[in-house]
Amino acid sequence: MSTTPAARPSATPGNTLPREHYLNATYGIRSWLLTTDHKRIALLYLVSVTFFFFIGGAFATMIRIHLLTPNGYLVTAETYNKLFTMHGVAMIFFFLIPSIPAVLGNFLIPLMIGAKDLAFPKINLLSWYIYLVGGSFVLYSFSTGGLDTGWTFYTPLSSVYSNSAVTPAVIGVFINGFSSILTGLNFIVTIHTMRAPGMTWFRLPLFVWAHYATSIIFILGTPVIAITLLLAGLERMLHLGFFNPALGGDPILFQHLFWFYSHPAVYIMILPAMGVISEIIPTFARKPIFGYTFIAGSSIAIAVIGFFVWAHHMFLTGESAYAALTFSLLSYLVAIPSAVKVFNWTSTLYKGSISWDTPMLYALGFIGLFLVGGLTGLFLACLGLDIHIHDTYFVVAHFHYIMVGGAVMGYVGGLHFWWPKITGRLYPEFLARIAAVTLFIGFNLTFFPQFILGYLGMPRRYHSYPPEFQVFNVMSTAGASILALGYLLPMVYLIWSMRYGTVAGRNPWPATGLEWQTDSPPLTENFDVTPEVTWEAYDFVNRPDLGLDVKGAPSLAPAHGDD
């Protein structure tokens, strides 16, 4: 009897969790708050980013309810400005940027490369604490007057005229930047120096390549927003004039410096998700990924070229026409490596043996939604078209397609895919599929109408709108309620599964990475013996240990000898 490729995850009743693993190795709150185990730190981050997701989500809820009617009666115009600002700051800096790297990256990178931990475990813990300190400053800002400058902190509104709690917010984001920087530093050093014997660069899982590329951006981009916010904060506190035209300063300089980081930041948010997809697709198509080298190279290309396009956010703010032309052309170029990935994922699916497990649903959803988001990015990069759609809901829809339809689906899909490794248990598959479909439907209903709204001319960051736009706004809010359900369901059943889920075993899918060779959940030190890698990445064919009946590979005969 052979296991068919489309079989359900191979957990059999009677499996038990390993006796000792990282979750029960030590007990007590100190063992968690002072841990240096990358896996525990990943879970600490999981809790914190989820908390900020709720905060950002609460603001989103208020925005969507307010926008149900054209002359929104829920909040005043000033409060509305605070709502979208705080939604953006919480979601971008405290949820999206850390999510996959700090949760999945931290958990998986040492496992995937065969190491016992990251290169600097104490710095890893420090990163989490720095994140909390930054988050506290921002929460303080939110609760003592809020923030109304937009997450972009444009000057001189933020540095001179705003009456909201800008200074603590800017301090919080500044401090949080160091959390990112240290995480990126840890990843780069770890990937360079701590790979197990035989784990060459081109045998690395693409998830690791994605995080390496992301870490380049962490390292080279984040310091720039740090110094920019520091200067803006000093300007506000001491009435200096760097970015204040009344004092000879230049607000466009602020924008250049701000976007020099914040554009690459969007690649920080999407590259890890692409890494997740590159792991899920081969697993559930039972095929090696198509074009490994191109996907690895395109990750680096996106990270590098992504630093050359920032002023496409400034086409309408007064930059020179020649600069605009250059940045527009470069923005078209940066789409190419992303497209390469989409082609490669699709080619991997071709003639694969597809199974529709939940992570695969998220991955397929990602490909479709990222495609829409990415293509609409090209619309925005087109100078003539941008004049019409800049600062409208078209932009809002574009980036939500990438950030939510792309990054968040990658994150949730990745959580599901590696949940058995993290907790030792399987989530309930049927309920999970329903949640994935709910999320997909809710998402499209929320954000597709926004493309139409933007095209028709509804500006973003406005608390009221002409009555003819109401029908699309109502659709969007309705969609948002379904989307919220799509987020809440996994939170419920994932927590449920930690106690009641079926025990997963080492490799339930099965998948080919080194992380699937360890116990679920793994030991604190990950591997009993340092592994030695002799196979290529995603090699489903030459891996009899996976028990797959794949293209001529021998199937595992059961113990009672049935050939």
Binding site: L220, I252, L253, H256, F260, A311, E319, Y322
Partner: protein
């Protein structure tokens, strides 16, 4: 350092002397009006000398010359990225009046 290459004190002292000479040179050059020969020559000279000094510190004091390739890549990338920020931002300002 991982490369275990021991740079002799003689080299350090030679580099120090070079750095001192460059410092004196840069102060002297600032007192001469070089802009009359070529617009912006003063700042160019100042930056060339500073870059030379920095390079000596990186190569010899920081053992850059004896470091593994990946360290050298890190050094080159930092400078390159700073250059991206400086050049591409200034390209906006410099071309504003072209049209």
């Amino acid at each position: 350092m991982s490369e275990h290459h021991i740079v002799s004190p003689k080299i350090y002292i030679a580099i120090f002397v070079a750095l001192m000479v460059c410092t004196i040179l840069t102060v002297y050059a600032a007192t001469v009006d070089l802009n009359q020969y070529f617009s912006g020559l003063n700042i160019i000279v100042a930056l060339v000398i500073a870059t030379l000094k920095a390079s000596l510190v990186v190569l010899f004091f920081m053992h850059g010359k004896y470091s593994p390739k990946r360290t050298q890549l890190v050094i080159v990338c930092s400078v390159f990225w700073l250059a991206i920020m400086l050049f591409m931002t200034m390209s906006d300002y410099v071309t504003r009046l072209w049209s």
